[in-house]
C-alpha cells in the first residue's frame, strides 16, 4: 500500500539496535506498526470504538472533577446529568475553538443509544443497568486517572504546582466553599487537612484526564470518518494525522475548576499556562501506555522476589506491554475498556474478527490486540511529534541532526528492548509486527 514515506537524502549507516528495522522505519516517517491494510483497518476501527466510550469518559471525568468533587459518598458519580451530556466539546461542532471533528459537539448518538438500552437492549431503570454493569465502565477511566496521579515525576509544571502553597490555598478556598454549611465535613477538614487537599489533587487529575480525552474523542472520530471515505492510504497517514492533531492542540489549556452553588471556583486557573501537550499528553502516555501498575488477576506478582520493579520509573504494565488475555480486573490490560469498546465496534471489524480464532467467543481478546496495535500507532505519533518538536526533520541534510534523530528513536525503542525485569519479553512490539498476533 503506497504511503508517504520519506527517503532521506543523506544516508546513515544502519543502526545496530536490536529493533533496528523498526528504527529505520521510523526514520523514514513510518510507524512502529507495519503498514498493511489489515493493520490500518484494525486501528481505525478501534479508534472509532474507543472514541465513543471516551466521549462518555471525558464528560463524566469533568462532571466528577467539577460537580461531584469531594462528595464523601459519590454513589451516583457515574450517572451523568443531561447538562454534561450536552456539554459542547471544545473541538467538535459548530461552536468549537478549533474544529477537529466535523460532527456535533454534544454526546455521540451511538453513546446515547447504548446508554438508553445497554447490551440487554431493553429499557430498564438506569440503576439496574448500572448494577448489572451494562453501561460504560468508568472504572477504567478512573484507573487511568489513578495511574497518572500515582506515577510521579512525569514532567510538566502541574505536578510541582500541585505541591505549591498557591495550590493549597486555592484548594482550601474551594473545599471551604464546597462544604459550607456542613459542620461535620468542615470539622473533619480541620482535623485532617492534608487528606482533603490530597482528594482535591485527585479531583484535579480527573479534570486533567477529562480535558485530555475531550480532544482525543473528536480526533479519533474524525479519523474514522476519513477512513470510511477512503481517505487514508496507509498506517503512516493515520499516524501523521495524529501528529498534526497533537501539534494543533498542544497549547490547549489544562485547568481545574469546581462548580459550587452556581459559582465557578478555580483550583488550577487557566492563567497558569498549563498546556495539553506538556501537562496532560506526555504524562498520560508515560503513565498509561508505558507504566500503569501491576494488576490483580490470574497472575500474581511477588514484590519481594523483585517481580515488581523497585523503581516506579521501571514499571511496565501499560497497554504496550499488556498481556492480551483479560484478567477480569479494572486495571490494565483494561478488560472493562474492552467491554466498552466491544459495544461500538464498526461492522467491518466484527466481520473481520469472526473469521479468526474463536470468532464471537474471544472477540474481546481480538479487539484487545487491535487496541494494542492502535496504541502502538498512537505512541508512534507521540514519538514522531516529539521528534518534530524537539529535533529535526526526517529529510534534514545534516548528518549530525539525523544522528540525533536516530539516538532519539533508539532511546524510545530501547524501552521495548530493555532486558531489565524482562521488559523486552513483555513488550508487544515484536508481536505486532506480525499479522498472526491476534
Amino acid at each position: 500500500m503506497p504511503s508517504t514515506l520519506i527517503e532521506p537524502t543523506t544516508k546513515l549507516p544502519p543502526s545496530s539496535h536490536p529493533l533496528a528495522d523498526i528504527i529505520h522505519r521510523l526514520e523514514r516517517g513510518g510507524s512502529m506498526l507495519p503498514d498493511t491494510p489489515e493493520n490500518l483497518m484494525q486501528i481505525i476501527g478501534l479508534y472509532k470504538a474507543y472514541a465513543i466510550p471516551m466521549d462518555f469518559y471525558w464528560r463524566d471525568l469533568l462532571y466528577i472533577a467539577e460537580r461531584v468533587f469531594l462528595d464523601p459518598l459519590p454513589a451516583f458519580k457515574y450517572f451523568l446529568p443531561q447538562e454534561y451530556l450536552d456539554l459542547p466539546n471544545h473541538y467538535a461542532g459548530e461552536t468549537a475553538d478549533l474544529r477537529i471533528w466535523r460532527g456535533y459537539s454534544t454526546a455521540h448518538q451511538e453513546l446515547l443509544d447504548f446508554m438508553a438500552k445497554g447490551e440487554l437492549k431493553t429499557k430498564i431503570p438506569k440503576l439496574f443497568h448500572h448494577l448489572y454493569h451494562d453501561r460504560i465502565n468508568m472504572e477504567f477511566a478512573e484507573e487511568c486517572m489513578r495511574a497518572m496521579f500515582w506515577h510521579r515525576n512525569m514532567g510538566g509544571l502541574l505536578e510541582p504546582y500541585m505541591d505549591s502553597e498557591e495550590y493549597k490555598q486555592n484548594a482550601d478556598r474551594v473545599i471551604r466553599a464546597y462544604f459550607a454549611g456542613n459542620p461535620i465535613m468542615l470539622g473533619l477538614y480541620r482535623l485532617f487537612p492534608d487528606l482533603f487537599i490530597e482528594q482535591c489533587r485527585r479531583a484535579t487529575m480527573y479534570s486533567v484526564l477529562g480535558l485530555f480525552w475531550e480532544v482525543m474523542a473528536p480526533v479519533f472520530l474524525e479519523m474514522s470518518d476519513i477512513y470510511d471515505e477512503g481517505g487514508f492510504q496507509g498506517v503512516p497517514d493515520a499516524m501523521n494525522f495524529l501528529v498534526n492533531g497533537i501539534f494543533a492542540i498542544a497549547g490547549r489549556p489544562i485547568y481545574h475548576r469546581v462548580h459550587i452553588r452556581g459559582e465557578w471556583f478555580d483550583v488550577v486557573p487557566k492563567s497558569k499556562g498549563f498546556t495539553w501537550l506538556y501537562e496532560a499528553a506526555f504524562p498520560y502516555v508515560e503513565a498509561i501506555f508505558y507504566r500503569t501498575s501491576p494488576f490483580r488477576g490470574t497472575k500474581s506478582y511477588n514484590a519481594q522476589a523483585e517481580q515488581v520493579p523497585k523503581d516506579q520509573n521501571d514499571f511496565h504494565y501499560g497497554i504496550l506491554y499488556a498481556d492480551k488475555f483479560p484478567v477480569a480486573s479494572a486495571g490494565i490490560p483494561p478488560t472493562l475498556l474492552h467491554q466498552d469498546m466491544y459495544h461500538f465496534l464498526p461492522k467491518y471489524l466484527v466481520d473481520y474478527y469472526q473469521k479468526f480464532c474463536r470468532g464471537n467467543d474471544d472477540m474481546l481478546i481480538q479487539l484487545a490486540v487491535s487496541f494494542q496495535r492502535s496504541m502502538y500507532n498512537v505512541t508512534s505519533a507521540v514519538i514522531q511529534a516529539g521528534r518534530a518538536a524537539f529535533l529535526y526533520p526526517l529529510d534534514d541534510p545534516n548528518p549530525r541532526h539525523l544522528m540525533a534523530n536516530r539516538a532519539y528513536f533508539e532511546g524510545q525503542l530501547s524501552r521495548f528492548s530493555n532486558p531489565k525485569y524482562n521488559m523486552n519479553q513483555a513488550a508487544k512490539i515484536l508481536a505486532i509486527q506480525s499479522q498472526d498476533y491476534r
Binding site: T298, K299, D323, F325, P326, R358, D361, D362, I365, K428
Partner: protein, 495 residues
C-alpha cells in the same frame, strides 16, 4: 435379560460392520443406548435383599467339558455392568472425531463391551476366561490402530501382559477344576464355592489367580504395561481401559480369589494389605514425578486400584462395600480425567506439564474443561462431596480396625494424591496463558457432554452415596461371612 446385555452389543457390532460407513455411528449409538437402557432397567428390577445370584441363566453347552453357559448377577457385578454400559455409551456416542476407519472403531468398541459384560456376568469359570480372552483381541486392535506415536509397542506390551494374565487365570481354574473331588472337571461357580481344598493347595491356586488378576488391575509390580498402554491409547480407548476393563482384575479378585479361597485369603490378607499400602504409595509418588499429565493420571490409577486390594484384604462388610464402591468411583473418575486430559491434548497439542499453563482463561482457554478437571482432581483426591470420598472413606473405615498400618499408608497415599493433583491443576489450569502460543480451538458442547455427565454422576453419588452402595450391601455381607476370622486360620496352621 443378561444374555441381551452380552449379545446385543455383539450383534450390534456385526450390524455396524455391515452398514455403510456413514451410518456406522448411528448404529453404534442405537445399540449402546439400548444397552444402557437395559442396564438401567436391570437396576430397577434388581432385588436388593436377595443374597443369591439373580437373573440366572443356564444353558448346557459342552457338558462333559464342564463348560456351561451360566450367567448371573449379584451386588458385585451389577454396578460394574452398569458402569460398563455407561462408559461405553459415553465413549461411542459423543463425537470423538474418529476420522480413521470409524466403522471398525465402533465395531471393536461394541465387541469390547460385549466381552467385558460377558466376563462380569459369567458364573462359569471357563466361560469367564473365554470372555476375558475374547475382549483382548479387539482391545489389541483398537490400541494398535488408534494409538499414539508408540502405539504398536504399547499394544504388544499390553497383549503380552494380559495374555499371560489370562493364562495364569486359566491355569488356576483348570487346576481347581481337576482337583475338585467329583472327578468331573468342575467350572460352575456356585458349585466351586462349596468345594473345600487343603489350605496349601488353596494358597498355591490363590497365588496363581492373584498374579493373573494383579496384572490386569494392575497392582505393583505387575503394572509396567499400564503407563505405556494408557498413554499411547487414544482418549476413548483409555477411558474404556481405565474406566472398565481394568476393573475385570479387581472384579476377579473379589469374585474368584476371595470368593473361592476364603481360608487361603485370610491367611495371606495381612501381606496383601501391606502390598496394597505400598502400591498406593508407589503410585502416588511416581505420579508426583511425572511431567506428562496423561502419564500422571495413569500412575494415579495404579495407586487407586490398590485401595481395592486393601479393601479386599480386610474383608469386613464395610471394606468390601467400599471396595466395590471404589471400583465404580475409580472407573467414573478415571474416565472423566482421561476424557479431560484427552480434550486438552487434542486442543493444545501437548500434555507437557511445563508447557501447559493458564487454561482456566475464560476467553482463550477452556474454562469449562479446566473447571471440570479441577473437580475431577478433587474427586480423585477424595474431597468430600464427591464419590471418591465415599469410596475411600468406606475402605479406610472398613480396613483400619483390621490392618491399621497399611490403612495409614493408604491414607498417606490419599494425601499424596492431593499433592500431584495440585501440581497438575496449578500448572495446567492456573497461571498465565502464553500470549504467543495460545490460539487453541474452542471446545464444542458435544465434546463436553461426556465430562459433564460423568461429573454430575460423581457429584450425585458423592452427595447421595446410598445410590452407590445399596446394590452391594448384601453381597458384601455374604462374602465377608464366608471368611473365617484371620486369627483362627493362623492358629489352625500352627497346629
Amino acid at each position: 435379560m443378561l444374555s441381551a446385555l452380552i449379545w446385543l452389543p455383539a450383534i450390534g457390532a456385526l450390524i455396524t460392520g455391515l452398514v455403510p460407513i456413514k451410518s456406522a455411528k448411528v448404529s453404534a449409538v442405537i445399540v449402546t443406548t439400548i444397552v444402557l437402557i437395559l442396564d438401567i432397567l436391570l437396576l430397577g428390577q434388581f432385588n436388593l435383599g436377595e443374597s443369591n445370584f439373580q437373573f440366572q441363566e443356564n444353558l448346557p453347552w459342552l457338558d462333559n467339558l464342564g463348560l456351561n453357559y451360566t450367567l448371573g448377577i449379584d451386588g458385585l457385578s451389577l454396578p460394574l455392568v452398569v458402569l460398563n454400559g455407561l462408559i461405553t455409551w459415553l465413549v461411542l456416542c459423543f463425537d470423538r472425531e474418529i476420522e480413521e476407519r470409524p466403522r471398525l472403531f465402533y465395531v471393536l468398541g461394541l465387541l469390547i463391551h460385549s466381552g467385558v459384560s460377558g466376563a462380569f456376568l459369567s458364573l462359569n469359570t471357563l466361560l469367564f476366561v473365554i470372555f476375558y480372552e475374547i475382549e483382548l483381541i479387539p482391545l489389541y486392535l483398537i490400541i494398535a490402530i488408534w494409538g499414539g506415536r508408540k502405539k504398536n509397542y504399547a499394544a504388544i506390551k499390553f497383549l503380552i501382559f494380559t495374555a499371560i494374565s489370562g493364562i495364569l487365570i486359566l491355569a488356576g481354574f483348570l487346576a481347581l477344576a481337576w482337583l475338585a473331588p467329583d472327578g468331573l472337571p468342575l467350572f460352575d461357580y456356585n458349585a466351586l464355592r462349596l468345594v473345600s481344598l487343603p489350605l496349601q493347595t488353596q494358597v498355591i491356586l490363590l497365588l496363581l489367580l492373584l498374579c493373573g488378576f494383579g496384572i490386569k488391575a494392575p497392582f505393583v509390580p505387575f503394572h509396567t504395561w499400564l503407563p505405556d498402554t494408557y498413554v499411547e491409547s487414544a482418549t476413548p480407548i483409555v477411558m474404556l481401559l481405565g474406566g472398565v476393563v481394568a476393573k475385570l482384575g479387581t472384579y476377579g479378585l473379589f469374585r474368584f480369589c476371595v470368593g473361592l479361597f476364603p481360608d487361603a485369603w485370610s491367611l495371606l490378607a495381612p501381606w496383601l494389605a501391606l502390598w496394597a499400602g505400598l502400591g498406593i504409595l508407589y503410585g502416588a509418588i511416581t505420579a508426583i514425578a511425572q511431567k506428562d499429565i496423561k502419564r500422571m493420571v495413569a500412575y494415579s490409577s495404579i495407586g487407586h486400584m490398590s485401595y481395592i486390594l486393601l479393601a479386599a484384604a480386610a474383608t469386613t462388610p464395610l471394606s468390601l462395600i467400599g471396595g466395590i464402591a471404589q471400583m465404580v468411583s475409580h472407573g467414573l473418575i478415571l474416565a472423566l480425567l482421561f476424557d479431560l486430559v484427552g480434550i486438552i491434548e487434542k486442543k493444545v497439542g501437548t500434555r507437557e506439564l511445563d508447557v501447559l499453563n493458564g487454561l482456566l482463561n475464560p476467553l482463550r482457554g477452556f474454562p469449562t474443561i479446566s473447571a471440570l478437571l479441577i473437580l475431577g482432581g478433587m474427586a480423585s483426591a477424595g474431597i468430600p462431596g464427591m464419590v471418591g470420598f465415599i469410596a475411600e472413606f468406606l475402605v479406610f473405615q472398613g480396613s483400619f480396625s483390621k490392618f491399621p498400618i497399611p490403612t495409614l499408608l493408604a491414607i498417606l497415599g490419599t494425601g499424596l494424591t492431593a499433592v500431584y493433583f495440585v501440581i497438575l491443576l496449578n500448572r495446567t489450569c492456573f497461571g498465565k496463558l502464553d500470549n504467543n502460543t495460545a490460539y487453541y480451538p474452542k471446545v464444542f458442547r458435544t465434546e463436553q457432554i461426556p465430562a459433564l455427565v460423568l461429573t454430575s454422576i460423581v457429584i450425585f453419588l458423592g452427595i447421595q452415596p446410598q445410590w452407590l452402595i445399596r446394590w452391594s450391601e448384601t453381597a458384601s455381607v455374604q462374602i465377608a461371612d464366608r471368611l473365617p476370622a484371620i486369627t483362627i486360620v493362623s492358629k489352625t496352621l500352627q497346629k
